[in-house]
Structures are given as C-alpha cells and as structure tokens.
C-alpha cells in the first residue's frame, strides 16, 4: 500500500512535504503536517477526516486560495506554491474547476449563464459555448433546469449546475469541497453518479473532500487525514461499492471523531 501512484497512469497532482502552520510564536497550530501524496490523471480521489483534520485547508492550498507554509504542490508540472499572485487567477481559470458545499452559483444568472460564465471568463467564443453546454447538459441531465434561476432550483439541481460549471472548461483537476453537504440523500446519489460519469466518460480528475462515508464510497481511492497527517489510504480496486463502503466504515471507526457520527 503506497500513497504514491505507481501504476502506468500519468501523475497530475504532486503534494510534497506540505506544511501549513497557523498562529504566532507562542501558539502554533499545525493544520497540515508533512503531507505527501500523488493524484494520477483520471482518478477520483476522496479525502476524508474528522473536523479539524485539515481537509479543507489542504483543498484550499491546492486550489491556490490559501498558501502553504512550506512544501510544494505541483499541478501538471506547475508548482502552485511558486506562482506569482498575478498568475494565480489564470492558473485557476485554466487548470481548476470548483464545486462548493453551498453551490456558489450567481443568483442573478440563469443555470445556462452560470455555466457559460466559466467559459466567457476564459475567452471562449459563443459558438463553442453553445456546443459545449449542449454536450455537458446531456451528460449531466440538466437540460430541464438550464433556463431556471438558482432560486427556482432544488439543491441537487443547483449542485449539478455547479458541477457542469466546474467541468465545462476541461480543467486538469476538479476540486469538490463537501459537495453533498447540503443535499438530501437522493440528490446526493444523483450528484455522485454524475461525478462518476464525469470521471469515467469525460475523463475528469476529481478530488473530493467529504466526511460522508457514503459519498466517499463512489471514489476510486480515499486518503484519510487526522490531525493534519495522512493516516491511511484505501483503494477500491475491484471491490463493489458496498464492500468499499464497509471498508470505509471500518477505517472511520478507527479514526473516531465526528466522521463516525456522520455515518
């Protein structure tokens, strides 16, 4: 069992010796403590851990929203810890797609426009926008909500629009922060099936932070974080989702904390 990706797949994300320290001299908190792992192209990686384990901090560091104290994070051979502030926006635009727990859709824009916005920011022309949205809408089955406004959509619909927005730019890496956190179980399942679809059919690389074992069971591999360190790793391999779920539960009960409560 290794944290590093060893199979023939190309490595997309490299996290090396990452530390994140909060606080001053007298009162140090290590949110991330020497975290190392790789993500291969086309992987669907889950990160689990109790509250305060550093999941979100890790995600924020990868997504360049936060900076690391030391260590390196490389996405597609670009070291994001070395990127200048002026280049960050471009990096996010070209390489990353985001899905948030609270959707973060723009409430004044229709679903269609929310998806289109991600493309217009990149300077994609209208012809392409139309084509791409048509394709993604079919894949994610969101045709009927495209022309609705966020306030007219259910949580699940909103999150699927957000997923479409995240993937429409063909990012190298899609980052999802507790995407099912605000959804009911049915919507959660639909969204997760969409994720699998995105992963399998569109070849998207996904990195999902969650503390929901059910959501995690859709991943191909799971990293468990505790107190800012990688505690263990689970690879689904040939397991059925049900078996994988049981394995996750085992680890979770080992880990303790609120992840166990979440099950």
């Amino acid at each position: 069992m290794s944290i590093y990706w060893e199979v023939k797949m190309e490595t997309l994300l490299k996290v090396r010796n990452v530390e994140k320290i909060y606080g001053g001299k007298s009162n140090l908190t290590k949110a991330l403590d020497d975290v190392n792992f790789d993500v291969g192209k086309g992987e669907f990686l889950g990160i689990m851990g109790p509250s305060g384990s550093g999941k979100t901090t890790l995600l924020n560091c990868i997504s360049t929203i936060d900076t690391v104290t030391s260590g390196h994070i490389t996405v597609n051979d670009t070291d994001v810890t070395m990127l200048k502030a002026g280049r960050l926006a471009e990096f996010r635009r070209r390489q990353l797609g985001f899905i948030f727990q609270d959707f973060n859709l723009l409430d004044t824009l229709s679903g269609y426009e929310n998806i289109a916005l991600a493309l217009t920011i990149c300077g994609v022309g209208y012809g392409q926008i139309k084509e791409r949205i048509k394709n993604i809408a079919q894949t994610l089955e969101i045709n009927d909500v495209l022309y609705k406004y966020p306030c007219e959509m259910s949580g699940g619909q909103k999150q699927r629009i957000a997923a479409a927005r995240a993937i429409i730019t063909n990012p190298s890496l899609v980052l999802a922060d507790e995407p099912t956190g605000a959804l009911d179980s049915k919507s959660s399942r639909m969204l997760l099936e969409n994720f699998v679809e995105m992963n399998k059919r569109l070849g998207a690389t996904l990195l999902m932070v969650t503390h929901d074992a059910f959501a995690a069971s859709y991943c191909s591999r799971i990293l468990f974080l505790r107190d800012g360190k990688i505690f263990t790793e689970l690879v689904r391999g040939a397991d059925s989702r049900k078996d994988f779920f049981s394995k996750i539960i085992e680890v979770v009960s080992l880990l303790g904390g609120d992840v166990a409560d979440a099950v």
């Binding site: 997504s63 471009e90 426009e113 927005r165």
Partner: protein
C-alpha cells in the same frame, strides 16, 4: 458601559459611517449657510432698493427651507437605514449574547446621537466658514462693497439648524429603536445570506412597458414643443411622470433584451454578469430610480433655468437705456394740462430742476396683429399656433412720427422721415429687427387703418423705449404718419427725461423720489400711473437675479445631492450583497482587472441611466421654460444654462467616484 460600547462601535465602523456622516455634515452646513443669509446681508452697504430685494430673497429662501429640510430628513433616514442593514449581524450577536432589545436599541440610539452631534458640530463649523465665503459672493452679486470685513455668525440660523436636525436625529433614533425591537434574531443573524432575487416579469411585458413609457414621454415632449408650457403643464406632467415610471419599470427587461440580442457580445468576458447584475438591480429599485430621475430633472431644470433666467434678467438690466426716468401719464391729464411735462408741473414737480431735457409722445394700440401678420418671420416657437388656434392677438404699438422723433432726438438716435403710405418701426431686440428687415425685403405690405403701407429697412430702429422692462411694451411699435394715428386707441403719454448735468445722477434720483413721495402723501391723485428710473430698475433687477440664483442653487443642489447619495447608497448596499458574488468570480479565476472593470461598468451605467433620461427631459423642460422667457425678454440665454449644468456634472461626478472606490473596497474586504 453602553457608552463605551457605542463609542467603540462608531470608531470601529467609521468607514461605514463615512457616507452617513458626510451627508449629515453637508446637510447641516448647507442649511446653516443659506439660512444665515440675513446676518450676511446685514453687514452690507445696501441702499433702500437693494435692501428691499434682499428681503424678498430672504423670504423665498425661508419658504424653500422647509422643502429642503424635508428632503434632507428623508435622505438621512435612508442613509441610516443603509447603515443599520450593514450591521444587522452585529446586532443579532448582541441579542444572542443575551443583551436585551432595549439595551441594543440603546446602543444604537447612543451611536446615532454621537454621530449626529459630531456631524452637527462639524457641519455648523463648516457652515460658518462657508457662509463667510458666501457673503463675499452675495456682496458681489448685489454689486456692493462690504463695509469692512466682519466675521459673520447668525445665532438664529444656528439655533434653527440645531432644532431642525435635532428633530431629525430624534426621529432617526426612534426609528432605529423600533426597528431593532421588532426584528427577529434569526433574521438579523442571517441577513447577509438573504439574497434571493425576485425574478422580473416576462421580457415582452417589460419591453411593452418601456415602449408605452417612451410613447407617453414623447407625447409630453410634443406638448412642450408645440404648445405653451404654461398652459399644457398639467398634461405634460400627466404624460411625463407616469411615462417615466413605466419606462423604469420595464427598463430591466428592455436592457436585457437589447444586451442579449447579440449573443457573441453577450457571451464575452463578464458582459453577461454585468448585464444580469444591472438588470436585477434596476428591477428591484425601479421606483426609486424613476424618482431619482425626476429629482435630477428638477435639479437640472432649476439649476439650468435659474442661471438662464438670471442671465436674462442680467441682460435685461444691462440694456442700454439712454435716459434716466420715465412717466406713464394718463392721456386725459395731458389733454387738460396741455402736455405731459405741463401735467407734471401742475402736480408740483419742477421738471426743469431735475431734467436737462424731456420728450413726450403718445402711445397707441395699432390694428396690426403681430402674431398673425408676422408669424412666419418670428423666432417664437408658439407664435403660429397661438395665432391660429388660441385666438390670441398681440397688437403692435403705434406712435406718430413727429412725437416720436422728439424721443429719438432725446436719446441721440437719427430721426425717421416718412412719406405717404410708409411706416417706420421700433423694436428693442436685434433679432426682431432682423426679422422685420426680412419682412420688408420680401416686399410684403402691412394692412392697417384701411390702407396699405410699406416698411423700408432704413426706417427700422433698435432702441429701448422703456425703463420698466421690454416686457412692458409690445414687441414692435410702428411709426405712423401724424395724421394716421387718429383712429387708434390711446394708451399712455410717455414722458421721458434726462437728469441735469453737474449733479451726480444718484443724488438727483434720490431727490426726485423723495419729492414725489412727499407729493403723493399730500395728494394721492397723480397725473401719472407709473414712474420708473433707470437706477431703481437696475437695483431691483439685481435683487431678482440674486434671488433666482440663490433659490435655484439652494433647491437644485439639495435635490442633486439627495439623488446622488441615494444612488450611491443603493450601489454600496449592492456591493455588500455582491461581496459573495465577486468572491465566486475570483474562485472561478477572474482577473482582478476584469472584476474592477465590471464594477465600474455597473456603477457607471447605474448612475448614468437616470441622469441621461433626466437630461433628455430637461432639454425639453428648459426649452419650454426658456421659450417662455425668451418670449418675454427676447434674449438668447441658452449658453448661460450650461453653467448650471456644469455644477451638476461636477457634484454628480464626485459622488460617482466615491461610490466606485468604496464599492471596490467593500468587495475586497473578504480577501
């Protein structure tokens, strides 16, 4: 404890309080400065005439102060509302911590009081400073020297400001207390998450509303151009005001329709975001935007027209009057005394003691209808319509050639010689003279008195025949051969004179007026019904000019600032809601430059829309007003209107800039 908390809160949220504080301070300053005008004019060396007109000005300012106070009160309430909204969460936290509603309301009241008192003190200080400068301007406008430089302070105006604004603060305090005690904690805590938007009506409904609004507005414009503003005013308002509201009600859908027409442009950069943000903002604030638009319209018209009118008055006063005094003597008195001057002598005025030279002529109404006969040549928009539809007649004046030549000699103008069936003409307006020259060159005959007359260009004179003001006389007077005026109706006998040499004219003027005052007390039966001197007319026109300018500036700037502050606050509160939206844009990888540009675009368009519509309204409004004024004075004052507009551009521009930079600051806060 409460005090300490309130004090610390104000200091902590100083940036939030800025707009509120500046507005308050400005309001107090402005209010004090204009209401202390009486103290200002007391230090000036005003003669009797000017003092009277200054009194008129003070009265009008006092009258409008009530309006201004109401406008300012509304503004302060609005600004306060914005401030409270921004701090809802903080108040909610106090409540969850177990502080009673009474105490929270107490904190708020203390804060309001604190800010209010500081603003009042600073505003008064600035007002006192400002009024020093203003008294210099007032003195200059009254064309007098300051006796000596004295520091002006009006306790009356200060007390008045304190009372007015004190009442406003108390209202705000009560308002805040009620607001807090009625709010639910959950609402306060989650106030920043609440951003569901009401989806607008269907686009075609909006487009229909906009088109209907535009049609109504065009009807109003048409009425202004075609008709006399003063007669059609109720109709103009009936169409114009609902038209404006309809236009704004439909505007969001209309703008969206237009902007999204070109898909390639719409789906480019942040264009679609800007469009949506703007349209949703317009959609939720269309009523207040329409109100602001009308307010700006009133501002532009008052500022523009007041500079126009005061320029017209100024030009009127600057007319070249080549004699010093005029009497309108009644024809009967002239007949019985055997001459105008003789009638005055008989009344007790020793004409020769005051006047070096006099002239007299009888003024008749002719039977030539200026509007009907000259309509095609006059530059008065409504002349045709008035003549055709309204049956309005304006007869030209008539004088006999020999009598009038005596007047022309008095003022040193070449005399007029007439042949048989020939007329001369007198007007006070160059433009009118040109029209008449065109008329005579076209060889058109004038039908009058049962005869046909020719008017040749070299017999047209441009002179001022009256001191009273050009409006006192028909726009044109025809000079008839002596025998031909017999059938016309006599109006007045004009006795005009030039004061004696060797004594300053002011002294003669004063002496003459004093004498006439005494005579009048002894004998109310005067042979003349009107008497004016050139000096009095100048003084009173100065007064009129100052009054119009001051009232215009006072009202105009109050309205303008009110409109601009409300727009600014609407944008700032929007920036508050927008914080989250811009954070999302940033996460999506939008460049900071693009974000700033989109913010600038939104605010600029939001500020420009009401201004642009108000400006178009004002073009027609001022046009209507000016054509009325031009009809009275026949002077072109359009270029003076632009000075009024320049003031608006500057003040509005300042508020726009402040709004943009504070919005930028707000949306960056979360970073």
């Amino acid at each position: 404890m409460l005090c300490k908390l309130a004090f610390r809160n104000v200091r902590k949220s100083i940036s939030d309080y800025t707009v509120y504080f500046i507005t308050l301070m400005f309001a107090v300053m402005f209010f004090y400065a204009f209401n202390s005008l009486d103290a200002q004019q007391a230090i000036m060396d005003l003669n009797e005439n000017k003092a009277t007109s200054a009194q008129v000005m003070l009265e009008s300012i006092k009258l409008f102060s009530t309006f201004v106070a109401v406008a300012l009160a509304i503004l302060i309430l609005y600004a306060n509302n914005f401030l409270i909204k921004r701090r809802n969460k903080e108040l909610g936290i106090y409540l969850t911590l177990g502080m009673g509603k009474g105490r929270v309301a107490g904190i708020l009241m203390l804060e309001t009081l604190l800010v209010g008192v500081i603003a009042l003190v600073v505003g008064l200080l600035l007002g006192v400073l400002f009024s020093q400068g203003m008294s210099l301007i007032t003195a200059k406008m009254f064309e007098v020297e300051l006796k000596e430089y004295v520091f002006v302070f009006s306790p009356k105006a200060a007390i008045q400001s304190i009372i007015y604004f004190g009442v406003m603060f108390v209202c705000v305090m009560i308002f805040n207390a009620v607001r807090v005690s009625k709010q639910k904690v959950i609402k306060l805590l989650h106030s920043d998450v609440e951003n569901e938007k009401v989806i607008g009506k269907k686009t075609w409904v909006s487009v229909l509303m906009t088109v209907a609004g535009i049609v109504l507005i065009i009807i109003a414009y048409y009425l202004i151009i075609k008709g006399m503003l003063i007669m059609y005013l109720p109709f103009v308002m009936l169409f114009g005001i609902p038209g404006t509201f309809l236009l704004f009600a439909g505007l969001s859908g209309f703008v969206y329709k237009i902007a999204s027409r070109n898909k390639k442009k719409y789906y480019k950069g942040l264009n679609l975001f800007v469009t949506r943000q703007l349209t949703s903002k317009i959609n939720s604030t269309h009523t207040s935007m329409a109100l602001i638009c009308l307010m700006l319209f009133v501002t532009i018209v008052t500022l523009g027209a007041s500079s126009g009118v005061s320029a017209a008055v100024n030009k009127e006063a600057g007319r070249e009057i080549r004699f010093d005094a005029e009497y309108y003597v009644t024809p009967e008195e002239v007949e019985s005394a055997g001459g105008g001057a003789a009638a005055l002598e008989a009344y007790g005025i020793p004409v020769d003691e005051f006047f070096k030279e006099t002239s007299e002529y009888t003024y008749y109404d002719s039977d030539v209808d200026v509007l009907a006969d000259f309509a095609d040549y006059l530059d008065v928009a409504q002349a045709n319509e008035m003549a055709d539809n309204m049956d309005v007649k304006a007869f030209a004046g008539a004088v006999s050639v020999s009598q009038f030549n005596s007047f022309l000699r008095l003022i040193g103008e070449p005399e007029v010689r007439l042949g048989e069936n020939e007329l001369g003409a007198v007007t006070y307006n160059e433009k009118m003279a040109e029209s008449m020259e065109d008329f005579s060159k076209d060889g058109i005959k004038i039908h009058s008195n049962g005869k046909e007359y020719t008017l040749s260009p070299d017999r047209i004179r441009v002179v001022n025949t009256r001191i009273m003001g050009s409006a006192a006389v028909a726009p044109m007077i025809f000079i008839y051969p002596d025998a031909d005026v017999a059938n016309f109706e006599r109006r007045d006998v004009m006795v005009d004179g030039i004061y004696i040499d060797g004594v300053p004219k002011e002294e003669t003027d004063q002496a003459l007026q004093t004498l006439q005052g005494q005579l009048r007390e002894a004998n109310a039966e005067r042979p003349y019904h009107n008497f004016t001197t050139a000096l009095t007319s100048q003084d009173s026109s100065i007064g009129l000019r100052v009054t119009i300018s001051f009232v215009g500036i006072y009202l105009g700037i109050t309205f303008l600032v009110t409109a601009a502050v409300i727009l600014a606050l609407q944008q700032l509160s929007a920036a508050n809601d927008n914080k989250k939206r811009y954070a999302t844009l940033r996460k999506l990888g939008t460049e900071e430059k693009m974000i700033n540009r989109s913010l600038l675009k939104q605010i600029a368009i939001y500020f420009l829309i009401p201004l642009a519509i108000a400006a178009v309204h004002a073009v027609f409004g001022i046009q209507g007003l000016m054509s009325m004024i031009n009809m009275m004075w026949y002077e072109n004052v359009y270029q003076d209107v632009f000075w009024g507009l320049a003031i608006i551009a500057v003040i509005y521009g300042i508020y726009f800039a402040v709004t943009y930079f504070s919005s930028k600051k707000i949306i960056r806060e979360q970073q």
